[in-house]
Every structure is written in C-alpha cells, then in structure tokens.
Symmetry: C2
Subunit: 272 residues, 2 copies
C-alpha cells in the first residue's frame, strides 16, 4: 500500500489524487472483507507498539487529521484508535477558539496539547485550521498566511527535536461523497446531532478549500513532518491506509525493552 | 455479581473483604474463560454506551481508581477501557505534585482534569492520595485530614450537581499477592520499568495504609459517589467486576437519541 506523500517544496494537485482509490484492493465484498481483516491485525499491532512507547517514555507520536466536513476524522479515530489503551493516547478536538485563546498567538493553545514522551497524541483538526478556514473567508492577509506557514514549520521542528514523530493526514473525499454523507445525516435522526448550521454554507466554498489545502500542504510537508493524502471515499480503505501508515511509523521507532532503574541490584533484591 | 459498596457513614472493615473473592465464579479454567467472555461482551456494550454519552453531551462519568502499588490500576484501565473510543475518554494519572501545584489547594489540579459533558474521565490515583500517602507519613495533621474529607465531599457534590456520575473503586489485593507481583517485576526485565525505588519502602506501611483506606472510604462514600471494594487478586475477576459496575452505571443514565438542532426543517433541507 502506498499513500501519496506530499513532496516537500513541490506543487500538490489534489485533482490528480482519486478520493475513490482503494490501492491494491478491488471494490468488491471479498477485497473489502480482506482489507477489514488486515486493519484488525494492524490495530492489534498498534496496541502492542503503543504499550512499548508508553513504557519507554523516550519519544512520542503526533497524528494530525484534517479534511472537509464529513471526511471521516471522527470515524478514523474511532475505528483505528479504539483498541489502544486510552491511558497512553490523548485526542484533542480543536473547536472555534475562545476569546482567551484568540488573545494569544495561534500556536499557543496547540502547544499546550502536544503529546508528552510516551504518548500518542491525535489532533482532530489542528493549527492548520488557522491557515485554512480563516484564509478561505479572508480573515487573514496573504502575508500573514505566509508567515504562519513558516511559524508552523518552526513549531513542528521544535517538537521533532524533542522526539516527536509527526504524521499529517488529509482525508480526501469527493464533493459528491460529501453530499451523500450530509444527506445521510439529515435522513437519520441518530446522526442529526452531528449536523452544524455552517455545514451547507462551508460546502459552497469547496473549491476555495481545495486550493487552500493544496497551498498549505505544499508549503508544510517536510521530510520529518509529511502530509499524506488518504483516499477517503471508502471508509474501509481509509481506515486501513491510516492504520498501516501509523503502524509503520511506530515500527520505524524500533522501541526496545523499556529501561529500568540502573541503581538496583536486581539479583539481590528481596521482598519481605 | 455484587461488589461490596461502602455504606455511607458506617465503619468499613477491609479485613472482612476477601481480595481473593471471585463472586459467583469458581477459580477454575472453565469459569475463568466464562468470566473473560462476559467481560468482552461488557466492553462492547461500554463502547456503544460511550458513543451515546459523547453524542448527547448532557452528562459525564468519572471513574476513580485507587489501590496499593501493583493492585492493577494500569491493568484495569488497559483491560476495560481499550475498546472505548479515546476521543471520548480521558485518563489522568496523578503523580507527585509539582511545586506550582503544591502552591494551590489540593483540589486545584484535580478540578482542571474532571471530565466535560459527554466524556468518561478516569483518574489513575486522585485527590484521595492527599488523605492517604500524606497521612500515612504524618505530613498532614489529623485536623487537616478531617477538613479534607469534608472538602472532598463538597467538591464531588459540585461535580454531581453538574451531571457527573462518580464511581470510586478500591482495587483490593492481599499483602501476599503484592509480594508475588513485586517479585514478578524484579524477575521479568520487560516489567522492570514499572519498578520504583519507593515500592519496598511503602510496603512496610501496609497496615497503616489499610487503616487510612478504611478511614477515607468510610468518610467519603456517599449515595451519589460511592466507594466499591473490588477483589483484585484475580485480574480476570477484577476486570469483570469493574466493567460490570461501569456498564450498569451508564445504563442507569438512560441516554436516548442525541438531540439535534431544533431550528432546522429536516424534511425540506436540501444539499446542492
């Protein structure tokens, strides 16, 4: 499985990325079942890797999830991360900033929520909203947007230097798929709680958002904090793709047996 | 299954609670397997109930875990709460207070971490340490301890009035069982990271701790924030007992279909 990784410094064209893509899997029931079984395996692996990460407390993992409304940020977290010990996993959903948060720089509230060593942190939306929604609605100048691109890179470098691995996922759905998902929310009373009044309004800016996403991902995908484009029209493939990428990143950390106190003579220690 | 619930205002005798108890289950492989299967069922139920709690955002659940070293606080969280969507579940481990925290009242840092509406919060150790470890080591006066008992009740009442259900579990192991578990930590290099230099020292105060636990649970078990004594020598029974109690508490909340925006005419809403 190969996710499209946005190349540092090159121009991203989202139109060339198929949101309906399912990699090596066909879109039939058999392949879908196989993909789901594979995802379950990966989740079990992830659970074991996370225990090691937690015990070692040497480094951390930050997963950033971005995407349009209904692209499946909540669903990805539920599907991929249920199974991980919540003691070592912190999910943060960034909503409209409070007046206290707005009185600080845009990274202030984000910095407070980054994962400590040993932890997996998941950002459901993130500091990237501050160069997306604000830009689409003309609330920040182009000069300020450019400055923020640099500030984001410097901020992420600080985290990386402290042992954080950063993975950024753009959940890529088509405009038609969003229509279907919004309609499902309307039809199903059990799903209506997710409806927000701005959903229809924001949809009108679809093309502006695509352009803004292309800009921000082109500018902030680096070797150490890359952006991945996740084809997300098919939930089962989206889950598999994210789980696979996360597991491989954690395997790359090569976390060994956790260290133990060096001043203890283990062979002589007696409990009475 | 019936967990011993500490009666408000009556004197608790931990010596009369068997840490080896397994309720209606026998201590053979067959019953153990049945208990584990039952626990898995409960965890699936818990996962569904939590989704509802999260969607409704009307109330919250706070689970407090206390117990001696090695009593299984971490293990209970891993076993019972892996499976819950981490987006709606926050685990907080309270360690030795920082100097900033010590400059405030003992509930200050705790209050910041209570679960918001829609969330399950789990305290791995809690404000109860401030009437346990400090008391055993004579760091607080008896007068101050009494005052804190009252302050804890008033603090918990505040949370309850805001829609929080509070469940407090004492994971009850025997002194012999602790010996075995500490020895296992010493023997197994994979487990040594959990070893802390204070472990042996604290064990010497076992009887003082039992007395302190009896006092604090007798004083702070109320109808709305009860203490449960969980027989915890057998991990499989401990997990089952906690999962069962949590699921029943969440079922008692009788959470229905989540509310949706009242100003929307759902039948006429069209997505273009």
């Amino acid at each position: 499985m190969k996710l499209h990784r946005v190349k540092s410094g090159s121009r991203l064209d989202l139109g060339a990325c198929d949101p309906d893509d399912t990699g090596p899997y066909k879109k039939n029931d058999e392949d879908k079942a196989a993909a789901k079984a594979e995802t379950r395996q990966l989740i079990r692996k992830l659970s074991r890797l996370q225990e090691r990460l937690y015990a070692n407390k040497k480094c951390s993992l930050l997963i950033v999830l971005q995407g349009m409304d209904t692209s499946g940020k909540d669903g990805t977290i539920r599907s991929v991360m249920s199974g991980v010990n919540p003691q070592g996993c912190k999910v943060v959903s960034f909503k409209t900033p409070s007046s206290k948060e707005l009185a600080h720089d845009f990274l202030w509230r984000v910095h407070q929520e980054v994962p400590a060593k040993g932890y997996i942190g998941i950002f459901n939306r993130s500091h990237y909203e501050d160069v997306l929604i604000t830009r689409v609605h003309g609330e920040v100048s182009e000069r300020e947007v450019k400055r923020r691109f640099t500030q984001i890179q410097e901020f992420e470098n600080l985290l990386i230097d402290n042992g954080t691995t950063i993975l950024k996922f753009f959940l890529h759905i088509s405009k038609d798929e969003q229509k279907e998902r919004l309609e499902a929310r309307i039809r199903n009373p059990e799903k209506r709680w997710k409806w927000e009044s701005g959903d229809i309004e924001e949809r009108k800016f679809w093309n502006d958002y695509m352009k803004a996403f292309e800009d921000v991902m082109s500018a902030t995908s680096t070797d150490h904090a890359p952006w991945y484009i996740v084809p997300a029209n098919r939930k089962w493939y989206r889950n598999l793709a994210v789980a696979d990428r996360v597991v491989r990143a954690m395997e790359d950390l090569k976390i060994g047996t956790p260290p133990s106190a060096s001043d203890v003579d283990w062979d002589r220690l007696k409990i009475s």
